[in-house]
């Protein structure tokens, strides 16, 4: 057992500052355990959002030593000893209180996106048939736990606050999951280009690097969507073809 110190950001939308706490760390503890222990011992009202404590719900996102992380999946043993652990709320979203941010913007964005619309069933009993390979790519995207860490790290949102023009990596993944769903008949490419701001992404891959689910956001979701947009809207041959035939 060792005593470690923590600088935890405390405050609300009007401002705040780091407060120092110390607590005893035992084997295997994660950052969220430490925060809970601090809460129980010395700061009953320290606000922290969590739910599953198993990396499955995506509630406990924060910045630990400057890195966007799930607190429940960050082991104390993996953080450098001899210096305080610094914990602050995600920067890309407004603070509610202490470590809790207002992520409601994400929910509003999702509501705007046209939902899944399946093709007619393949079989009379109302079911579909498709091979596993056709689903693999989309299943990767559907691992998303909506922790919004990718949103937090993306400079378009984090530094440039383009929340009105860019949906962020999480929703590009969501859009990719819809567009590549083997049964879906929807077409969201025009919105992806015009309303969802895919052009803002300059493929820095920061989002992929922080995704706790290991989703290859940039390579597997964003780049293919960009290619589809380019193919349809910018490819000269396609453009002429459309002008001549009126088909897309």
């Amino acid at each position: 057992m060792a005593t470690r110190s923590f600088n935890v950001w405390r405050g609300d939308s009007s401002g705040g500052d780091y407060v120092e706490y110390t607590t005893d760390i035992t084997e295997g503890m994660v950052v969220l355990d430490a925060v809970h222990q601090i809460q129980a011992e010395s700061a009953n009202d320290l606000a922290v959002r969590w739910n599953c404590k198993a990396g499955k719900c995506g509630s406990c996102s924060a910045e630990v030593n400057g890195m966007p992380r799930l607190m429940c999946m960050t082991r104390m043993a993996d953080l450098p000893e001899g210096q305080p652990v610094n914990i602050k709320p995600m920067k890309a979203f407004p603070v509610m209180r202490d470590l809790v941010t207002d992520v409601s913007w994400n929910y509003r964005v999702k509501e705007k996106i046209a939902p899944f619309a399946p093709r007619e069933p393949d079989v009379d009993d109302g079911t579909w048939r498709f091979p596993q390979e056709d689903g693999d790519r989309v299943q990767e995207f559907r691992k998303c736990i909506e922790c919004y860490l990718c949103q937090d790290v993306c400079h378009v949102l984090r530094e440039h606050n383009k929340h009105d023009e860019f949906v962020g990596p999480r929703f590009l993944v969501y859009l990719a999951a819809l567009e590549m769903q083997p049964l879906d008949t929807g077409d969201r490419l025009l919105e992806i280009k015009d309303d969802y701001g895919i052009g803002y992404c300059n493929i820095t891959k920061c989002c992929t690097n922080v995704c706790p689910e290991g989703i290859t956001i940039t390579d597997n979701a964003i780049i293919p969507l960009k290619e589809r947009v380019v193919d349809r809207y910018y490819d000269p041959v396609q453009k002429i073809w459309r002008a001549l035939t009126g088909k897309s």
């Binding site: 809460q39 939902p115 899944f116 299943q139 769903q181």
Partner: protein, 607 residues
Amino acid sequence: MTASTNSSDFQTFDYDVLIIGAGGAGLRAAIEAAGDLRVGLVCKSLLGKAHTVMAEGGVAASLANVDERDSWQTHFADTMRGGQYLSQPLMPEFHAKEAPKRVLELEQWGALFDRTKDGKILQRNFGGHKYPRLAHVGDRTGLEMIRTLQDHGIHQGIDVHMECTVTKLLTDDGRVVGAFGYERELGRFKVFNAKAVVLCTGGIGRAFKITSNSWEYTGDGHSLAYHAGAELMDMEFVQFHPTGMVWPPSVRGILVTEGVRGEGGILKNTDDKRFMFDDIPDLYVNQTADNPEEGWRYTQGDRDARRPPELLTRDHVARCIVREIREGRGSEHGGVYLDIAWIKEKMPNAEAHIKKKLPSMYHQFKELAGIDITKEPMEVGPTTHYAMGGVRVDPATQMSGVPGLFAAGECAAGLHGANRLGGNSLSDLLVFGKRAGEYAAKFAAENEDTKADPAQIEAAAAEALAPFERATANPYDIQFELQDLMQDKVGIVRVESEMEEAVTAVRDLKERASVVGVSGNRQYNPGWHTALDLDNLMTVSEAVAMAALERKESRGAHFRDDYPDKEEEYSKFNSVLYKGEDGQMELRREPVPALSEEQSAIIEENR
């Protein structure tokens, strides 16, 4: 900042149907009720984070995609056997009949299940299910399900109140007329007027120390219903899942999916012995492999093989593990070994296979315990997992004894009897979530608007704010004490004297809980939230302990050291708990409804 009880602080909302809880059951109910009606949905967490997200193994439905011999009849018989014939027989029947439709509906709404070779929904083996029956997505089925319902639900015109906790149901002349709650963010109060209310609040695992359940599982729905005059049933049956993580201490209790055993994982003690072969219950002898080779073939889809003993029902596996640990054959940190790495003896690409089939388990052990499950065995032990008991409801409509108050999902009783089979919860949420939504909507349409009594609202507000006026006991201390108590005295192995102590101790703690104090203000204040949850935890703990004392036998998940066998007398009733005239909790024995001729015949055929 001091808290005020000024009623101008309330925001008021009017709904036809109010749904409390946004897990699988709540979302499914909301989708069903929405349309022409005004539907409100309240949840303690953010939308999409409810406990359902954690479900791993799959959703049970006799689609018969992998084994065409499967049918609703077999699913019904398996569920009844698993529940040791204490289920309300109509519920397993509806469940078995309707689950396939409900699962296919998810596909229609965008769920992407793993596929069979011919492109249908793939199904896997699970404990107690005769045929491969669990539709799944790797080991993150719950995530797929909740996300599908969420993404479909947000386009149905449902009003969602996230991070809002309901603390009281409002009633008028015995009928439910709405609910009272607080916003976790700002601490402001919300009053919901509603013609019908559906409870979908999940389980009670936080009453115990070692649990796979999240902070949300404080038995709120159970307690809200109880205080509003509804009855609770089967509360003695708490499922201890045999395989939770045991090391390191901070992850103790986190679930290790049964899917590990479904894929061929075996349990061993410290002598390297596969102890599950030592004790196979009579009810299951005919269906269980008697040698390791046959067991392995079963997990690999050999239809002539019988299931390995690791896939016996959860209660039995949990007790065998406890026996090994108690008799000194446990693992280093007080569990037993669960080994999936051994399958490399059987297949060439075992490592990749394990990662593909059990990705989150691989991840979980790697990240949290530093163990590579493709190379080393895991250490596992029982963890509090699921409440079979809950609000007593009508099997068809899901309405409780209180008119207008419905319950579905884990917080309702009746489907699982003395023990739940894996995978039967996710299907429960869909089948009975839909039914609850449908009948709540019907009730709302047939009944007049209601208005809550202002005095009740004021009282609810005063009660919620009381902890700010006191500065005595720390709410966390009481919560921890209760969890220790329930774990030690009303846990996996129970005896009369300990449970008697527990009942008294819970009542004492209840006294102390009524005077806990909190500091800080109403904005996102976990200390306050914990203080308010305490009453719910006390209610369910008392109910569990009382019902467990009453049942002087061992059946399903309820095991008593002093009465280790099943007794005929106890096969005939369910324990029902309710608030007596004097405000004390009382217990009544309610006869188990008789089986129909068809049901008996199906059970006979599947013996």
